[in-house]
Symmetry: C2
Subunit: 120 residues, 2 copies
DNA sequence: CTTGCCTCTGACGTCAACGTGAGGTTTTAG
DNA sequence: CTAAAACCTCACGTTGACGTCAGAGGCAAG
């Protein structure tokens, strides 16, 4: 699969895929003429990368994880890293839940005043 | 309270507080000589701003919310905006939960191989 | 009164995750 | 064989939330 097809199938831009290679998150093979060639499972790897980005992980944190996503093999250090990132994600979740609840009580409190004008 | 004390009490930098003013998230009074003077409740407002930033809201989304946080009064449009942001936060939460679960199964699957070497 | 710390206003720098051309090559369709 | 579409490598631009430095003014203590 060439870069355009992978982009179409994952919904990310061609530029983003080249950026992932630059960050060594997803390094494709090359044809003799230099064109990138991705294997079938690259689709899943791109989706994984997107999810990790969405979880707030920077490239630097994703990079050491990805080579093992494919192989299924792992060192104890990497395992610890995975658990650490998982803890950070859970903290983010808790944080978001608290903010959501805060917004909730704001909305409830505000509803009392429905119809009044917000000074600005 | 002057800017240095507010920074110390909230843990955000002086630069950040000036930035919040630039974005009109927290506009202080001024002494005749031009120094910023914040009221006591600015501490809570700064924390609220931080929570909303942490929830992924940009300044533009926070700005129309803040003047009403203080007053407790609100327009129907603002109420809708609050609910919209709340929905977006819930989507982010769901996304994070899914990513956490994915990490979880990765960790479980990887634990099987504990002791093997990760090719690099 | 001056020393030292805090504050002020610009204004340029940073970092991440790409966007957006420029200018040239490769692959594919007819 | 040719033209269009896809691809390549630089390399500069963008956005958001600040960091950082320069140069100048304000203020309590000794």
């Amino acid at each position: 699969m060439r870069i355009g097809e992978l982009a179409a199938r994952t919904g990310v831009s061609v530029r983003a895929l080249r950026y992932y290679e630059e960050q060594r998150l997803l390094v494709p093979e090359r044809t003799p003429s230099g064109q990138r060639v991705y294997p079938e499972n690259a689709v899943d790897r791109v989706r994984m990368i997107q999810h990790l980005y969405a979880a707030g992980l920077p490239s630097r944190s994703i990079e050491p994880i990805m080579p093992c996503v494919a192989s299924g093999e792992v060192t104890p250090e990497l395992l610890e890293r995975l658990r650490a990132e998982q803890r950070r994600i859970e903290e983010r979740i808790d944080d978001l839940v608290r903010t959501r609840d805060r917004l909730d009580s704001m909305i409830n409190a505000a509803s009392v005043y429905e119809g009044r004008t917000c000074p600005r």
